[in-house]
């Protein structure tokens, strides 16, 4: 899932400063799951902003809503009439949702979240990055543990010399060294030999977002002729 954080309330208030009628639109997808932008957060944030604005003597009128998935127009369409009456929309979706709304509606679309990473729930309340979306997956070689996302240095033939005696990362304390984990895992799978005998080729980063914005096309699913 896409993991996001809510922006600091101070920043949100600053972004909203010029507006008096705003729709707070949440997204009931990834960001609801990671407790940053679902309907619950919309309510909380709206209440907080109303309070702060009332206190500062610049009241704001907030409409609240949550789309099933902001990255598809179809789910945003029902909010069209409401959006017509607003000065701006504060989107509590990931960056995709904000872009999508901005494409569709001709008023300012403001982000309430900082979109962070592709992650998993470690346990309730903790999310960890495990995939970097680099576009060239090697997880079959590394026992399902991604060194690009989980090694601070993106090493392909790690571990580096900085790994601590207890198997943690020198850059991120408390994080296990991805390569220590990979080696342990492959040992369990009986596949360590295979790893030791292959040397990973230098990574082609052009499939990563460093190669510029990316796009995917699936010809057979295109509806136009």
């Amino acid at each position: 899932m896409i993991v996001a954080d809510q922006k600091p309330i101070e920043e949100i208030l600053e972004i909203l400063a010029p507006y008096k009628r705003v729709l707070f639109l949440g997204c009931q997808s990834c960001v609801a799951v990671c407790m940053a932008g679902g309907e619950k957060e919309v309510g909380l944030l709206a209440a907080a902003v109303r309070l702060a604005r009332a206190k500062s003597g610049a009241p704001i009128e907030i409409a609240e809503g949550a789309a099933k998935r902001q990255c598809d127009d179809e789910f945003n369409e029902p909010f069209g009439p409401v959006i017509q009456q607003q000065e701006a929309v504060l989107s509590l979706a990931c960056g995709v949702g904000v872009n999508k709304l901005a494409e569709r509606f001709a008023i300012p679309i403001l982000p309430a979240l900082n979109t962070r990473f592709f992650g998993k729930v470690e346990r309730q309340g903790i999310w960890k990055e495990v995939c970097a979306g680099c576009g060239d997956c090697i997880l079959h070689l590394t026992g399902g543990i991604c060194p690009i996302a989980r090694c601070a240095k993106n090493l392909l033939n790690g571990p580096c010399g900085g790994v601590r005696a207890d198997g943690t990362c020198e850059v991120k304390r408390d994080w296990p060294c991805a390569w220590v984990q990979i080696i342990q895992r492959l040992e369990e799978l009986g596949q360590l030999e295979r790893l030791l005998s292959t040397r990973m080729a230098a990574k082609d980063w052009s499939s990563d977002r460093h190669g510029g914005p990316r796009r995917r096309v699936r010809e057979d699913m295109l509806l136009e002729a």
């Binding site: 009931q28 609801a32 799951v33 407790m35 679902g38 309907e39 309510g43 949550a66 729930v121 309730q124």
Partner: protein, 994 residues
Amino acid sequence: MPSTDATGALLVVGGGIGGIQTALDLADAGFFVYLVESGPAIGGKMAQLDKTFPTNDCAMCMLSPKLVEVGRHPNVQIITLASVESLSGHPGAFKVSLRQQPRYIDIQRCIACGRCIAACVYQEVKFPSEFNVGLGKRKPVYIPFPQAVPLAAVIDPQTCIFFKSGRCPQGCLKACERQAIDFTQQEKLLELDVGAIVLAPGFEPYDARLSGEYGFGRCANVLTGLQFERLLSASGPTMGKVLRPSDGQAPKRIAFIQCVGSRDLRHQSYCSAVCCMYATKEAIVAKEHDHQIEPTIFYMDLRAYGKNFENLIKRAQEEHGVRYIRSMISQITESSKSKNLLVRSYAGGANGRSPLQEEEFDLVVLAVGMRPHRQGQELARRLGIELDEHGFAKTLASNPVASTREGVFVTGAFTGPKDIPETVIQASAAAAAAGKLLASVRSTRTQTKRYPQESVPDSAPRVGVFVCHCGSNIAGVVDVKAVAEYAGSLPGVVHSENVLYTCSQDNLKHMKEVIQEKQLNRVVVASCTPRNLEALFQDTIREAGLNRFLFEMVNIREQCSWVHGDQPERATEKAKALVRMGIAKARELEPLTLQTVPVNPNALVIGGGLSGMTAALTLAESGFETYLCAEGELSAKARAHPKLRLYTDATLKKCAGFAGNFSTTLSTPQGEEHLAHGVVIVAREAQEFKPRAYLYGEDARVLTQGELEQRLRLGRVSARTIVMIQCVGRDEGRPYCSRICCGQALENALALLAEDPSRQIYVLFREMMTYGLSEKLYRRAREQGVVFVRYDEQNPPTVQRESEGLKATVRDVQYGQELLLEPDLVVLSTGVAPQREANEELGQKLKVPLDAHGFFVEAHIKLRPVDFASHGIYLCGSAHAPGSTEELVAKAQAAAGRAAILLSKTHLEAGGVVAIVEAEKCTACLTCLRECPYGAIFINSEGLAQIEAVKCQGCGICAADCPAKAIQLRQFEDRQELAMLEELLDVALQRVNA
């Protein structure tokens, strides 16, 4: 077996926690119960306690809901101020006669407003309050305690001037607005037909005046533990402040003296089993109340043998600085000026200390022991049951709740000193045993009420509001007329009126008429706390054809008139705000229908040991088809019963479903077996721990106590010098006390000496946990020459193998010397250890929790000791907690009894105040599933969260945390709460602006 004339009603004697639990279990399982209490209110000793060990939970918080539940149970009749006169007939068809003393107050009419008390000719409280153990005072007319059930005043003829002299203006009579006082009441004789009797007369504290050396009764600042409990209680005579009786000053140095009257051949030779822990609890709680307090506990042996008891002692020492001194008290003397107390103790003469010590204290608390209650002695005589030498009821280890007379059961502290969980367990066990006897007449005496068809409100809200005067209780402060008028002006309200007493029978009838006449579809009552009467009003509107969830109650008495008597105007405004809030919620209420789920009356018991066999047989004999999954070999003696199906060598493969409807697959040597059943009892045992120390397994001369027991049975022990080491393996990741090993070791020691009295036996121990009646083993062992050597946890004994034989060394703590022993046999008390991995596996399949050591964890240590939090799953066996045979049998019976309650119902009602998921909004984020304390939430075939109404307890934790706002707790839904909040705040605002 009961005869064909059996009756499905029972008598329970004693209204303490044990009697209450027995009554509730029996009434819930389809029997009618007469609960007889000798005092004016039920609640017993637990009601007087402030906190309970080892969790330091508030006693009243746990007890009060039970009091209310039993008080309004349709199949329980509480008879107070009554005692049993005689018993005739036979099991199944007894005739009991009761003698009931007059209360001089009509319970039906009394509303416990306290006006009679205020109007009593005694202007000041004058007589020692029984509830406050003499520390507080009361008048001749009084309410036993604020949470009393029945909640009514009582007149004590011993102190009432009218009864004593006949000359009294009887202000109470005039003050009572309900005409509840009746000085003409007479003693009554009642005759009851019952099928069985359960005696739960409980205990009384040892009378400390009998041990003159402690100064109780002479020195003002020497209190008993129960008195100190009242000082600690927030509702006690000092409102929870620890103050000295002599001068009302806060004491600093407090001494707790253990074993007062216990373990004392002059008084009670047994150990009272609870005092070490209650003193520790009181010391901690006192310290929490007032940091200045320096508690010291003088003890002989520190018996912390129960689950998590040792942790509490550790916390007392490390976090609260409680000082523990091992010693015996020779005398306590009072300083005539300061009323301080000089405690003289004898602590042995180790390390060059003087054996006699003296220390001054500001307050002394005597940990008085438990005595079997006087009334129990009298009961035993009248009912013809036998008592042991101490006056406790005689029972068998194989049936710890059966008395010597068939059909008469005994429970709680009447059978020996017990703490609250043991009492609650025994109470359920007694209910199971009595219920088993009367299984054929179950549900013959109970009543199920019939209600008219509910009309579904299809129109807009038509709210009816009833504002109660409660005599002058509310109307004396709040302008109730104005409140009713105001309510009538609010949207949706079609009827609003004032009522003198909303809860009176005539008004309830009137309410029903109004509901029909004005076609009300929501009802609001503004009166007292919903905690007592909400259910009554809900029942009333149900009788009028309304769904009971279309009711809202507003508390304008306890939370308004009674606390704002000095500001009547503001109280009226607040009452308006509260009523307005209640009406706002009422407008948003919806009828909730309960689903009825049929109950499969079969049971599955897991575990082939003593506990499993006992639980399974109890259920089979109670008429329920029972499957016993014995897992490995059946270790208990198998007993056949036509309703019992035994699966040896079977394991539980999977279990799905919920209370009343489980479906389970067992793997058996014959293949898979599919079972449908309504309950599960986890009855696994823990095993004797096999240590890796003291040459165990390396030298044939080193055995465990269990192995010695077997050899003794075969007569194959030749050793002459035997060393027993206690607490072995507790450093190997098992820090808990196994509770049974000290008793087991001493039984073996006595058996060895019985074979050959010239044997030399040494017991090396840390703390001798011969709690309760097993103290006699300790005494006998000492009398017969067993040598006891106390060692320190830091300096455990050693055992070496040398050419000439075994050598054991130990450092004697008491004398500070190293002893060298040359045993022929070393016996290790290793305690019990649960099979952690196997338990974890079972725990996952049943979704029930384990603690850090691998023991299963009950729903509530005090109140639901044999239930899992998940409804329909129960537990017993030593894999829950170690225990003696007697304790394990009682626990197995209790678990079976709790299960029988569910199995005796044809249907379960599910729903009502439960959480529901709005599928449209659910993102299946799993938050609710992770948070639910009851495992009630699962992901359904559509990939969305779904809540099983049967499992949901209505706490609302899921609704509050759902990130998609997809969950609502019925009756507490967001729109309902928001409506309440808006109205509550709005009213105040309007007034400020007006």
